[in-house]
Subunit: 487 residues, 2 copies
């Protein structure tokens, strides 16, 4: 949502180059490449996903994997290796890493688990050992206990379910599963990623390294971080602050509760921070706080699709009555305002909705049914757009109250979505849609089609008023908005 | 969830009889019955829904509506009328009501809007007038500006989308649309209603009247109230307190924010109460507070399906790693606890999941994929059930992280749901499922099928860990649970 063009600077080449080959390796070795035909291993995953570089399967027991020549040891690979994935038991990692160092591998992604997160002396010892082996060499370590890199541009992925489409969102996550959820939640609303890093225990490379790279990455507009522990607090704060100057940084912190901290300790051996430390952190850095992956996805969408707001006053369009009262309450509880429209706006609305009664003051109620909504998008939206008392338009598509009994629901909802897309082109106010569907399969499918139409047209669609209001409030309360207002 | 049998008393006949005919009228007159064939009017709606009593369409312009003889005036109806619906402009309501009083109609549902909620002198005058006309007569007034009654047992409804199935949930709502959302959200998880009252401006009959009836209603187990304004505060508090002794009462209050209050004023001409007044109310009454319809539906499900808990300690089963950390945080933030399992439980879990590493402590992680979950429900659930450190089992079905790319997702998820149903039969701990799907149509459909299987088997299924934790916390923090614990 921000025009970062002005803030963008020249790439300080010496700063960025270090991690470039982690995202764009010209060759990848899989140490412990699976020779099983049944399961999807790293080799097949990379081939299927379209990685264009050279793949070296390393496996002393076979000659060929997925049609590629296999090598007994990484040192036997005929050419230099930029990136190696260790797909071997933790106890075998030190020797494999030594081989990688000897080979001059730039980045070693230690996929294996069984290190510090085990909480055992042996696990801790192994983690110290791999750090010791790589320290001071030209080899940097990613992980251990992590999924590694997803970069659709270079064809790297850690899941065959990820989209091949490139986008402008970067994810830095200690958790591979949370990163995956975020990638897929974004995909569901037609938003895609530039680079995703699952970095696990962060024994060597850590969030500050990735943040520094991504802050300067021309392919990235928004950075979302999932973090359990911060090894070097001052470096993290500094990296987030520097990143924040270039682009929005969302921080989802985990392990901030008593047993959340206990669980995180056994997940990535992280020492988490209590909630009050995070409060200070957000004040210091200007990062946007998030508590769940769903909320992170909502904030990403708000940042990507909601234009700069002049204020926090919301115009609500949708079913009136109690639905309007509750939506108003939700917005105001989230820190937004839902003031009455100007007298002029109300008068103009009365012309097109003479029998709307009280439902013209904000929230405004279109005629009932999807056809009523469609008509209102075309005739009423331009009026709301001119209202002087509101800054952003929130459209409630409460599809669930139509019960799913309407055979034409999909068609009328699709028409409604197209009408909104058409109308939104000439609207100057930022716009968001809350599309809530209930659980009935027919309704959900109809709504999914509408959401697809809307999000492809660049309209932000949230699963409810609560999530929409929270995301809008987060982006308008953060100093990102303050920066915008100053422009 | 409570065994209210012990609390149930004999029906005090004099108290209850007054409203009996509102839900079970032997005849209904529609004043201003629509003669249009195209639109669904009240007559057709009642006929289609299966109302078995006599319907008198009142319309001076036609002889017949939907095959039924129409009468020019309600006084012309050949037999007594229990319930009349005024489907006429507000200005015509006083005369129609006078006719109803003359006819001796027991309940008049004033469907029409255009009264106090308009905020105009004329609207206020009309509302005072209809109150004056009915006061002191044998005719009670429902509304104005409301949808009236939905009672599947008697065949009354205000929406053709409502299920005909009878259930044990009563809804008392100033908003027809919010009541509709709640009915349909409940239906989506196979929960149904006994009686729903949309009562609008509450010019005569008000929440205390309905609460008194429903508290003694043998067909009702749970009462959910949506309220904007309370005309008679002490009567409301007293009715909720009395109701609460018999069965759980959920109160969703609306209009508690500045502009929420403004909007409510124009919705039902209600004077709302600020949030702090509600805090005192909940302490005084023991009602369960809710802020949104979705939350109300979640609490209803928790009350209906989660067995009495001995405490608030949650065992989480599902994807580990960051997903487990975040779920733990969410539960603890909601006021629940996620402590480590006993050493004994951990040892037993290690036998069936020898390579689970750290993922045995709570949260516990089944093998990956739906098959892993299925296997765990059968083998792991009985172990968790015996754990001494936890009181309730929360199962995370994070279907969205499977990306929807799996062609067999629907089948494996269905099998998994059946396995969980089978396993849950012999489990003594209460159980809840958080089933989250993302937005991909295939995933959503697969999840909808699984949810249907689970909820039909009486297992509570929530759309996410956040909603599950919130609902569980609400029912365990309320004195309903305290009452249970004392038993």
């Amino acid at each position: 949502m921000i025009d970062y063009a002005k803030a963008a600077d020249k790439l300080p080449a010496d700063k960025i180059k270090p991690l470039e080959r982690m995202f764009y390796p010209s060759s990848i070795a899989i140490v412990g490449a699976s020779s099983s035909v049944a399961e999807t291993g790293w080799v097949k995953r990379l081939l299927d996903f379209g990685y264009k570089g050279i793949i070296y399967p390393i496996n002393p027991k076979v000659k060929e994997i997925q049609g590629l020549k296999a090598y007994p040891n990484i040192c036997d690979a005929p050419d230099p290796v930029d990136y190696a994935i260790l797909n071997i038991p933790a106890r075998a990692a030190p020797q494999a890493l030594r081989d990688c160092v000897a080979k001059g591998v730039k980045f070693v992604h230690c996929y294996s688990a069984g290190f510090g997160e085990e909480g055992t002396p042996e696990g801790k010892r192994l983690e110290s050992e791999i750090v010791r082996i790589s320290t001071g060499t030209g080899t940097r370590l990613l992980g251990p206990n992590c999924m590694g890199i997803y970069c659709p541009e270079s064809g790297m992925t850690f899941s065959e379910d990820f989209p091949k489409a490139e986008g402008r969102i970067a994810v830095v996550s200690q958790s591979g599963a949370e990163a995956s959820r975020l990638v897929l939640l974004c995909r569901d609303v037609n938003l895609y990623c530039s680079k995703v890093i699952s970095y696990g225990n962060a024994a060597d490379l850590d969030a500050p390294d990735f943040l520094e790279y991504l802050a300067h990455d021309q392919k990235t507009d928004i950075i979302a971080v999932y973090v359990e522990g911060v090894r070097d607090g001052p470096a993290f704060v500094s990296a987030v602050r520097k990143g924040r100057v270039k682009k929005p940084v969302i921080i989802m912190r985990a392990g901030t509760t008593e047993n959340g901290a206990r669980t995180a300790l056994y997940h990535t051996s992280s020492i988490t921070r209590p909630e009050e430390n995070w409060d200070a952190f957000f004040k210091q850095t200007g990062a946007i706080p998030a508590l769940t992956t769903d909320e992170t996805a909502d904030i990403i969408q708000a940042l990507s699709r909601i234009r700069t707001m002049k204020g926090q006053r919301v115009a609500i369009i949708g079913r009136g009555g109690g639905i309007g009262v509750v939506a108003t309450d939700i917005c105001e509880r989230a820190g937004l305002k839902v003031p009455p429209f100007s007298k002029e706006t109300q008068a103009k609305l009365r012309e097109i909705r003479p029998d709307a009664g009280a439902g013209l003051r904000n929230p405004v109620e279109p005629k009932l049914g999807m056809e009523g909504a469609t008509e209102f998008y075309l005739r009423g939206l331009p009026i709301i757009d001119m209202d002087t008392e509101t800054d952003i338009i929130l459209i409630q598509m409460a599809v669930d109250i139509y019960g799913g009994g309407d055979a034409d629901l999909k068609q009328t909802l699709t028409e409604s979505a197209y009408a909104l897309c058409a109308a939104s082109d000439s609207i100057r106010k930022p716009l968001a849609v809350a599309l809530f569907t209930g659980g009935r399969a027919e309704t959900v499918l109809a709504a999914a089609a509408a959401r697809d139409i809307l999000t492809k047209a660049g309209i932000a669609v949230f699963p409810g008023v609560e999530s929409a209001a929270r995301a809008i409030s987060k982006i308008t309360n953060s100093d990102i908005q303050v920066l915008n207002l100053k422009k």
